[in-house]
Amino acid sequence: MHSGAKRLLLVAILVAAVVSHFSAQFNRYYLGVAIDIGINIILAVSLNLINGHTGQFSLGHAGFMAVGGYSTAKFTLTLQPLLPPWAQPLIFTAGLLLGGLTAAFAGLGVGVPTLRLRGDYLAIVTLGFGEIIRVFFQTTEAFGAATGLTGIPNWTNFGWAWGGAALTVFVVGCLVNSTYGRGFIAVHDDEVAAGATGINPVRYKVTAFVIGAFFAGIAGGLYAHHKQFLSPGGFDFMKSIDIVVMVILGGMGRTAGVIIAAVLLTILPEALRGFAEYRMILYSLLIIVLMIARPQGLFAFRRQKN
């Protein structure tokens, strides 16, 4: 079973790398959107671990993305001029890992204090943390403050983005479907019962935050090297909400659904560009309509919770 999954992961990464090799042939715009999709998949799947599988309502995911993005960017910006071009993939990998780790650390910082909180209170506190992180980057000159961080090299290509997405899906999927991972779902369904049966809800909640944040940090690093520019305004709670919408639309906890929702919600604003001034109005209407028409998410047809 696991070997089957591993094989699929390798195939996915290989395909991504191959496509990436030919990416100079493709239209830059569409390629850019495809990379955006890959990054959003990572964001959505990582948030899904926290919100969907473990049932913790987190509204501050953009904060983790910011931490990872700025860390990675600062790292590569400092090292790039010092090392030869062939070292670039190495610097990038190291940078991404650094971004992921700092974000994971931030996830720890958010997960631990919020253990006692439930539902709406948890939501507002995570939103608060996200905003505090944003304000931090907005006021710190070392990270460019309000102007932002410029000149980030354009290293994210299709391979990195989709390879990262495949890896995220693999890791999160394996985690949740393992025996250990059943604990996440137990905590989601009924925390007290889970505690009574020997599952430590604290450990699972914090783990969910840390792992979710780790991948969000990687997504942030990829994002930074795709847009070549980071600005604190891009990581406000509206960004967090964009990701939350993907998770909810996909059906909380349905990895497959969440992936498809991420793809759709990235393509949708692009498809609506022709409508310029009505675009956001239509987008918000679409959210309302989708929620009313199919509130369990577009793709939730399996697990019923009573």
């Binding site: 493709f26 830059r28 715009y29 569409y30 850019g32 495809a34 410029t150 989709w162 994002y223 520019f229």
Partner: protein, 393 residues
């Protein structure tokens, strides 16, 4: 539940969207459009990216309206190189992340030969590397952060930088207002505001002045009493507010309410009819620097104001609209001089722009591709802007 069944199934789910997306890329346009192809047809495609919705919509719309007016007038007069200019505008929603996508679209899919935009330096900074990498000239109408044109030699601006305006205002404070101390009240969310504040501070201190206190606000805030009370206690001779009129109007009102009776002054972000409309007598007697004024400007400036009012239902243009207008004019002029719309040629012509008469003044591109222009200082008198002095670079 059969987990094996479950798990295999969802890997397939990743596969299909991946396959689908790859097909989508391949199918849509397969190959990269040769960059800058947009004059193969009957029109010359000029791309514009602006914030038409979102937090800074009011500035983006102003800039866009100026640009559009210019393009329409150019076309009415016969176009450029025998062809009409086609303005392709994309909305960046005041959101970071959008300019990159949108400029990529304009260049790679729509075939724009040049890009106009943006008002906010941060969004210009995001788009500039893309234009530079594709060798497409980009003209920012009103981004004032020096870093923007430092991205590369294809990036230009038609406005002065924060440094120039900051110096102008510092000298104004020292010489005209005869202020020994000043308080600075900055919009911490705006890099324009922060940049202007920094250069003002440097010059004012250099002139022997003393900064009594420095406080910040967030653009979009409505209540400034907390900071203004602190400023009042510091007792400055004048207050420098390098922000936008949307906030400045309220700042003036509230400082009057608190009994702060020292002059307030700022930069071109103040210029808009809304300033007087909202601020009323609280803005009376205050000062700001900007690009032009009908009394000193040319006939061109006066005509611009008239045409703008006619085109946009009686609305008066603000500084951003005037800059947007000039960005289009400068581009068209460069194309005419280059005799072509090809990227490199237009870029060279743009760099050679000398003494071009725009509505915001006489524009010459210096070696940094910034416009060396004079600034004018205005004072609000009887609900109108009175011209005080011109400051040359």
């Amino acid at each position: 539940m059969n987990s094996r069944h479950f798990m295999n199934k969802w890997y397939l789910y990743l596969f299909w969207p991946a396959a689908g997306t790859i097909l989508f890329i391949l199918a849509s346009t397969g190959c990269n459009k040769p960059v800058g192809e947009g004059d193969g047809g009957e029109t010359i495609k000029v791309g514009e990216f602006a914030s038409l919705t979102g937090k800074e919509a009011t500035f983006g719309i102003s800039s866009h309206e100026g640009t559009l007016l210019a393009i329409e007038e150019i076309n009415a007069a016969g176009g450029v190189l025998g062809k009409k200019l086609e303005l392709l505008t994309e909305d960046t929603q005041s959101k970071p992340g959008e300019p990159a996508t949108v400029v990529n679209k304009l260049i790679a899919r729509d075939g724009a030969v040049a890009i106009l935009g943006e008002v906010a330096s941060s969004r210009s900074l995001e788009a500039a590397p893309i234009c530079q990498q594709n060798k497409i000239p980009m003209i920012s109408p009103s981004s004032t952060n020096p870093k923007v044109t430092q991205v590369g030699d294809f990036i230009f601006r038609v406005c002065f930088t924060d440094k120039f305006q900051g110096d102008v205002l510092a000298n104004f404070a020292t010489k005209t207002l005869k202020a020994k101390t000043a308080a600075i009240f900055t919009d911490v969310k705006s890099d324009y505001s922060k940049g202007l504040a920094k250069y003002f501070k440097d010059k004012f201190s250099g002139n022997g002045g003393n900064i009594s206190t420095e406080l910040d606000y967030n653009g979009g805030d409505k209540d400034f009493k907390a900071q203004l009370t602190a400023i009042k206690s510091a007792n400055p001779d004048c207050i420098f507010v390098p922000g936008y009129y949307t906030d400045v109007a309220l700042i003036c009102i509230q400082s009057k309410q608190l009994g702060l009776n020292v002059p307030l002054f700022g930069g071109d972000g103040w210029e808009s009819e809304k300033l007087v409309e909202i601020g009323k007598d609280a803005v009376e007697g205050q000062y700001f620097s900007t690009h032009f004024h009908p009394d000193v400007g040319s006939e061109l400036g006066r005509k611009f104001v008239e045409h703008y009012r006619k085109r946009w239902n009686g609305k008066s243009p603000d500084a951003l609209a005037a800059c947007g207008y000039d960005s289009a004019l400068v581009l068209a002029d460069a194309m005419k001089r280059a005799g072509s719309s090809e990227g490199q040629k237009v870029r060279d012509a743009l760099a050679a722009t000398k003494n071009f008469q725009g509505v915001t003044g006489v524009i010459t591109m210096n070696e940094n591709r910034d416009a060396t222009k004079s600034a004018v200082i205005l004072q609000v008198k009887d609900g109108k802007y009175k011209f005080l002095e011109t400051v040359a670079p």
